[in-house]
């Protein structure tokens, strides 16, 4: 009877059905239109291309599950990429050390968000909007807007450009391991359950003895670390680090998450859905390219897909809310 009830039961499987359908449709169409689309090599190429957005999106899922959002990941990716270049080239650190420092930097960036959100109780949208500007600005300041780091050692570049046995791209294991880790964390651990509780009702979670601030802080720190990791994967793949690296990636990551059926209001959603979201976006982009269609079409269709998925979800929720309202009355009318 009140608004709270209209918030849905976990309906992620619906979104996933929708996405599987979209994915199959894409594959069916592009297999006909695209040259060399339906090949194992291309499938692996899609995995390679989706790694950075995928890493960001997969970690964005727990953030959105808590009812938050992290707009700063794309900028943080840029900042981490630039810092990595700076540490390796100008500070002369060996690349593995610089890489480790980059991950720490990502964690610190996430930590800044976490601190402002949990300590000062500021809305994540505003905090990460501010840190989006801040991180990108720092990246520009460090490079004075022009510096471009190139010429990384091949030992490092192999991680982004090389292949393992069977033509598997070198970044695939990292990407899959992280995705698997997040799936386990979100779906099979107590931490994941706590995140959902927080997303549905932060106050309710606090009253149930969940350390809300600590959980939320971790989520943003991990999201920042993921941005650091994505920065490394990105630099290794493209072979250069500029201040504008990862511009707009935050929006792609959020698109994948929302497309995957995670409610932007928190509480419900799944990492599997996000993976499907990432996959359908990557396949779309790749398939259009191989079909000689303009790349812009991918962007347009992404927007359309996003609106379609959302409308479908809202429609389904309205339907099930109506059904549930009647169930509510039935159960409360029956003698107990």
């Amino acid at each position: 009877m009140s608004t709270a009830i209209s918030v849905g039961k976990p309906s992620w499987w619906r979104s996933e059905f929708f996405l599987v359908g979209v994915l199959l449709l894409e594959i069916a169409i592009f297999s006909r239109t695209g040259s060399n689309f339906a090949t194992a090599i291309n499938a692996l190429e899609i995995v390679r291309l989706s790694a950075e957005i995928g890493l960001l999106a997969v970690w964005m899922t727990p953030v959105v599950l808590t009812g938050g959002i992290d707009l700063s990941v794309g900028s943080l990716l840029g900042l981490c990429a630039v810092c990595f270049g700076k540490l390796w080239r100008d500070a002369g650190l060996p690349w593995p050390v610089a890489a480790a420092a980059t991950l720490v930097l990502g964690a610190l960036g996430g930590g800044l968000n976490a601190m402002l959100i949990t300590r000062l109780r500021l809305p994540p949208l505003i905090v990460t909007l501010g840190s989006l500007s801040l991180f990108r600005g720092l990246a520009e300041a460090i490079t004075r807007g022009v510096d471009n780091f190139t010429g990384f050692p091949s030992g490092f570049l192999d991680w982004g450009q090389g292949y393992l046995v069977g033509g598997i791209p070198a970044q695939a294991p990292v990407w899959i391991a992280v995705a698997a880790g997040v799936i386990v964390l979100v779906h099979y651990t107590v931490f994941g359950r706590a995140l959902r509780a927080i997303g549905h009702s932060p106050e309710g979670a606090r009253y149930a003895g969940i350390a809300v601030n600590r959980c939320v802080a971790w989520v943003y720190v991990l999201s920042g670390t993921a941005a650091g990791l994505a920065a490394l994967v990105y630099v290794a793949r493209v072979g250069q680090a500029k201040a504008d690296a990862g511009t707009g990636y935050e929006l792609l990551a959020i698109t994948a998450v929302v497309l995957g059926g995670t409610s932007i209001f928190g509480g419900t959603g799944s990492v599997w859905g996000t993976l499907l979201g990432v996959a359908s976006l990557a396949v779309l982009r790749n398939g259009l390219q191989l079909s000689d269609q303009p790349g812009e079409l991918a962007g347009i269709l992404t927007g359309v897909l996003l609106l379609g998925a959302l409308s479908a979800e809202v429609g389904f929720k309205k339907f099930s809310a109506r059904r549930r309202a009647s169930v509510t009355l039935a159960s409360s009318n029956s003698p107990s």
Binding site: L120, R136, E140, L251, I264, V304, L306
Partner: protein, 309 residues
């Protein structure tokens, strides 16, 4: 009517910045420089006024930059095709209103979350534009386009006058007209608004339409400053505008904030880039400082409030 704490603190920050500039770089206050700074800020202010409405009703629109680009290009193409400016300007405004109406429809009628809706339209409009124009500038514009054919200083005057007029109208509308107070009512408590006979959906939709129309107007105000129309214009505008509104003290939870704060916020952020030049600091720091100001502004606001309560 309200606490004006935030308005005052932002204005104070702006004054401090101006005072520092007055001492260290009096050239900042040269007529040319000041006019250039203000005319660059005018389109941002116009969009920020519209964004204030949308944030007051507890929504957000991150597609304004893309709308801005679409309107700019349409204005440029129409001008080149020989239409007089008295048609070009309304057409740009109408285009913006239409795009805003689409966002508003998805949000108000279908009940989709505005952040996601406008994320989708943000990508879609920008990419559609890229597809159609393939990154091409609109060149060979008639003379009556740049500065409305009136020369730079008169053109700047017109831009500032229009921005000031829009601002004044909206201040009056939000403060003294029943409809304006309904915007606050809807953002403050949607359900209570419904019970008071207000239709929250309509007000929300209206806010998006007004924002769109103002984006269309701002696109013209911006485009006439240049000789060509850049298809990438308005990139990052959404962040600039939202930052100005938030720094100005409008609560993202809706229902609180005034346009005076937004004015101070927009001007503060607009002064940073020229200030860096005049203070002989590397200009690349602009974004970082902007980000810092947003974070400090919201943090200070919250810190102050929690001490009070």
């Amino acid at each position: 009517m309200k606490r004006f704490g935030r308005e005052l603190s932002v204005t104070a920050s702006l004054l401090v910045l101006l005072a520092v500039l007055a001492v260290t770089a009096p050239a900042f206050f040269g007529k040319q420089q000041l006019l250039a700074t203000l005319t660059a800020a005018a389109p941002v202010l116009v969009v920020a006024c519209g964004m204030t409405l949308v944030i007051l009703v507890r929504q957000i629109d991150i597609s304004v930059g893309s709308q801005f680009a679409v309107c700019s290009i349409i204005a440029g193409l129409m001008a080149r095709a020989g239409y007089p400016m008295v048609l070009v300007v309304p057409a740009s405004i109408a285009t913006g209103a239409l795009l805003g109406a689409f966002n508003g429809w998805l949000v108000a009628a279908l009940g989709l979350p505005s952040i996601v809706v406008t994320l989708a339209t943000f990508v879609s409009w920008r990419e559609t534009l890229r597809w159609v124009r393939e990154g091409e500038f609109v060149k060979d514009l008639p003379d009556r386009f740049q500065w409305l054919g009136m020369g730079q200083s008169a053109g700047q005057g017109v831009i500032l006058a229009v921005a000031a007029l829009v601002f004044a109208l909206l201040v009056y509308g939000l403060g003294w007209i029943a409809l304006g107070r309904r915007v606050y009512a809807v953002g403050s408590d949607r359900e209570a608004a419904r019970l008071a006979g207000i239709r929250p959906g309509r007000v929300t939709w209206g806010a998006f339409v007004v924002l769109g129309a103002l984006v269309g107007l701002a696109a013209v105000l911006n485009a006439i400053r240049f000789a060509d129309v850049d298809p990438k214009t308005g990139t990052g505008l959404e962040m600039q505008v939202i930052a100005g509104v938030v720094v100005g003290g409008v609560a993202v939870s809706g229902g609180r904030g005034t346009l005076w704060g937004v004015l101070a916020g927009v001007l503060l952020l607009a002064c940073i880039s020229p200030a860096l030049v005049f203070l002989k600091l590397p200009p690349q720091w602009e974004k970082a400082i902007q980000g810092g100001i947003i974070l400090v502004a919201v943090a200070a606001d919250r810190g102050g409030r929690s001490r009070l309560s």
